[in-house]
């Protein structure tokens, strides 16, 4: 049983690493792929903790729906976050 | 897509219904009465609006002789898959990475789109090759260890054994 504890610990570390990576990352596409990695690891973790229904929902929503919605959002806006020249200004906002 | 008669439309609908019902049976993998009845109803409801996406050729491809060749194809394919994996293992483990990659092209004799797709998928899973693009009947293949740049020679190395059987099936 200690073996499975080590595996759970490894997966938790991997999940935290992916989460930190996708928060810190400037490129939004990489952040979205990182979010997919988080939900992959999370659904394995839920199965290891014997909660298959939660794992099913996590797999459905986290992998497919979130990724697709975010990809469509990125397509309609800009991909790199911190480029001043690409930033869209709102119509009523005064430009500097 | 050519226009179908009423019988053709019904055959296409029947094909979609039976296919969906078989998929349902495999997914639930029980033969309890309520499951089977629910599956038949759901498959009927889904097959009504979507049957024109399933097939263009109803059932006249289905002949017993083709089934024998299809089984032979599966065995040839599985053997090629095992050889491919041993090849990948040899390349990955050896410390010097013995690779010489490149993209080669060759022509195929196949005509139908489905046969082309099957051949492309098989090429992706066989030793050292990965299909990058298909334009009309020209395949562009990324080859991890290029042995020759001549189209005929590369076709003989990569796709001869599959195309021979696929020409008999389709």
């Amino acid at each position: 049983m200690i073996y499975y504890l080590i595996l759970i610990l490894f997966l938790l570390l991997l999940m935290i690493g992916a989460a930190v990576y996708s928060v810190v990352q400037k490129d939004l596409l990489y952040a979205v792929i990182g979010t997919g990695l988080i939900s992959l690891v999370l659904s394995i973790l839920f199965l290891l903790l014997q909660a298959p229904d939660v794992a099913l929902t996590e797999a459905a929503i986290g992998v497919a729906l979130t990724t697709i919605v975010f990809i469509i959002t990125i397509r309609n806006t800009v991909r790199h976050e911190d480029e001043e020249k690409n930033r869209r200004t709102l119509p009523n906002q005064p430009t500097k | 897509m050519e226009k179908l008669s009423a019988g053709g439309k019904f055959a296409r609908f029947l094909f979609a219904w039976v296919l969906l019902f078989l998929i349902w049976l495999m997914f639930t993998s029980t033969l309890a009465l309520q499951e089977v009845l629910t599956g038949a109803g759901v498959a009927f409801l889904i097959a009504l609006p979507t049957n024109r996406f399933f097939t263009e050729v109803q059932l006249y491809h289905f002949k017993p002789l083709r089934l024998i060749f299809a089984i032979e194809y599966i065995f040839v394919f599985l053997w090629a898959l095992i050889v491919a994996n041993l090849d990948v293992a040899r390349r990955v483990i050896s410390p010097k990475l013995p690779i010489n990659p490149g993209i080669v092209s060759f022509q195929t004799k196949l005509t139908s789109d489905f046969a082309k797709m099957v051949l492309a998928n098989s090429i992706t899973l066989t030793p050292g090759t990965l299909s990058v693009d298909i334009i009309d009947d020209t395949y562009y293949i990324h080859w991890i260890d290029v042995k020759s740049l001549d189209p005929e020679q590369s076709k003989k190395e990569i796709a001869e054994q599959f195309e021979k059987i696929l020409l008999k099936i389709f």
Partner: protein, 131 residues
């Protein structure tokens, strides 16, 4: 009889684990995206197929469902790898070539196609302007 099946399943399980490991290692070691796709796709396809099939052999009641999963992996994995390779070439990432530029026979066709579509769009723009 049952023991032989069990031993066969265990061997298949071990082989599958080794190939899944080799897939990860191949993705880590190879020099460019196409070679990574080659190693990753082939090794994980056979590895996943044999692990899932071994579960079906060790637990005979589950065989049909594991067979569905095996067929699904065999159909879906090459399609996704083909889509990724095509997308990667379209983005302009040229393959790593050891033997020189004549080893890339796709580039000529690719550039010609790009020019043709560009000309078409230019003509369309001109037509719109004249209209």
């Amino acid at each position: 009889m049952n023991d032989i099946l069990d031993i066969f399943g265990m061997i298949l399980l071990l082989i599958g684990g080794i190939f899944l490991f080799l897939g990860g290692l191949g993705i880590f070691r190879m020099p460019d995206t196409y070679n990574r796709l080659q190693a990753g796709t082939k090794a994980t396809t056979l590895g996943g197929m044999s692990v899932i099939l071994s579960v079906g052999i060790l637990e005979p009641g589950w065989f049909i469902k594991t067979l569905v999963l095996v067929i699904f992996i065999a159909l879906s994995n090459p399609i996704s790898s083909h889509a990724l390779a095509h997308a990667n070439y379209k983005r302009g990432n040229k393959p790593f070539l050891k033997g020189g530029p004549e080893y890339d026979q796709y580039r000529k066709t690719f550039e010609q196609e790009g020019k043709e579509t560009e000309e078409n769009t230019n003509e369309k723009v001109k037509e719109e302007e004249t209209a």
